[in-house]
Amino acid sequence: MIPQELKYNESHEWVRQDDDIATIGITDYAQSEIQDIVFVELPDVGTQITHKTEFGVIESVKAAFDLYAPVSGEVIEVNESLLDAPEQVNESPYDEGWFLKIKMTDKNELNVLLDAEAYQEHIEGDNA
């Protein structure tokens, strides 16, 4: 269920690396906890985002949830389709529901993120 090829933040964001480009989203576990996503507030193209720092907000019917950057870099693309269809995050968190593509400034930051196995343990700990 948890994609093996991705890296994870403890705050439930995933990152997919393609050379120095990183795609960022939230995990299936996160979307199932948040539920009923109605709006995703994301930074504009050109914005610098910083490892472990807030870069956006998810609004669900229940509450607002902060998003934390798994890696640092410059935003080069934003998933504009989420503006009209935020439910894509609930329906397809690892594909259509992605948030941002960024040009990474420090690939070493990937090394401090969790791999799929460690993330699995992390969410099991969450439920214990």
Binding site: E33, D36, V38, E41, V61, K62
Partner: protein
């Protein structure tokens, strides 16, 4: 945290839980939007056992209830319920409650979960009669069935009474599937519905009786998340968010539940002068966001760059597909406001309450 007798059932239905008024309550089972729409279109089943039930009976009960309530409880007949505020001497709202009249000297006051102890103490302090006050909350379970199909379902289990003849804010003592119950045509959703008060030991039996019929009717069990969006759309205030001891009924637009004629009650003189002078400083308004953002409780409201109040309730509205809320603002005529959401101003339009009819 306290748990209701139905906690294990909620757990088996995969509910997510939240703390509310000292209780561990289901916030959602499936999805707030689905649960919300189930109540609007079909039927929803709620465990509201966290609510408090305080009985006042015996000699002087009528006088005591009269003294505590801003609304005219004197006009109640047996088998009738009334929404009222309880105010302190300053006109501040102690709680908002339902009063059920069983007979001239026997009443049940249904109070908010977080206020049970406070209200119970308040009633004892204010009691200068021989009336007996008892907190029956732990022995009482409240299950609500709300939505257009609620009447049909409940009627199947009440053998000797057609519930369609119970009008809004009336109740009967009867049996539901053989379980002794007070069946009340009341609710907090803006839909046709009933609230059923039973003894705690019958909680699981009643839930298990109604649940299969609810599911069969394309209904759902409903948690506090959807209860909140349902009540917001219906324009119903929530104690602790939209009102507290620092607000009067007039501040929050509930002046119609204060009745002065031929009666005396705590806070009367302050409230009377507030009503006469019309020097109300605050006003509760309904708003609708003009963009996609969501205003939440505590966000600051601005007009022409100046802060004029704050949001008291706010959420996406599943029925209206826009984001709505209540704000407590300075008493000025405004048509549009700006709400500070994470440091940025977002426009909202003032709209009438309730949001849905």
């Amino acid at each position: 945290m306290r748990r209701t007798p139905l906690f294990e059932i909620h757990k088996s239905l995969n509910a997510k839980f939240t703390e509310f008024g000292g209780w561990e309550m289901p916030v959602q089972y499936s999805s707030i939007v689905k649960e919300h729409l189930a109540v609007r279109e079909s039927v929803g089943l709620f465990d509201l056992s966290h609510m408090g039930e305080i009985d006042i009976k015996g000699n002087g009960a009528k006088e005591l209830v009269e003294k505590l309530c801003t609304n005219d409880v004197n006009r109640l007949v047996d088998g009738q319920a009334l929404y009222t505020l309880l105010c302190n001497e300053n006109g501040g709202i102690v709680d908002d409650i339902l009063v059920y009249r069983h007979s001239e000297n026997s009443y049940t006051l249904v109070v908010n979960a977080g206020n049970i102890e406070k209200d119970f103490e308040w009633f004892k302090i204010q009691n200068d009669t021989e009336a007996e006050i008892s907190d029956d909350s732990d022995n009482t379970v409240l299950i609500a069935i709300q939505g257009p199909k609620s009447l049909d379902i409940l009627n199947r289990y009440v053998l000797n009474h057609d519930l369609s003849d119970i009008s809004f804010f009336r109740f009967v003592n009867n049996e539901v599937a053989g379980i002794p119950a007070a069946i009340s045509r009341t609710g907090y959703t803006g839909e046709l519905g009933f609230e059923i008060y039973i003894k705690a030991e019958n909680a699981i039996d009643l839930w298990n009786t109604l649940y299969p019929d609810v599911i069969e009717a394309a209904g759902l069990p409903v948690g506090l998340g959807a209860r909140d969006t349902l009540r917001l759309e219906a324009g119903l205030r929530l104690y602790g968010m939209d009102m507290n001891e620092n607000t009067t009924p007039y501040d929050v637009g509930l002046g119609r539940f204060v009745k002065f004629k031929n009666r005396d009650f705590i806070g009367k003189s302050v409230l009377y002068s507030q009503k006469q002078k019309v020097d109300q400083k605050k006003r509760l308004v309904g708003f609708k966001m003009l963009d996609r953002s969501v205003a939440r409780c505590g966000y600051t409201v601005h007009k022409n760059g100046n802060p004029i109040g704050e949001v008291t309730s706010g959420a996406p509205s599943p029925s209206l597909n826009c984001n709505i809320g209540f704000a407590l603002i300075q008493n000025k005529k405004v048509k549009q406001i700006d709400i500070d959401i994470r440091g940025k101003m977002h426009p909202a339009e003032i709209v009438k309450i309730p949001f849905i009819s």
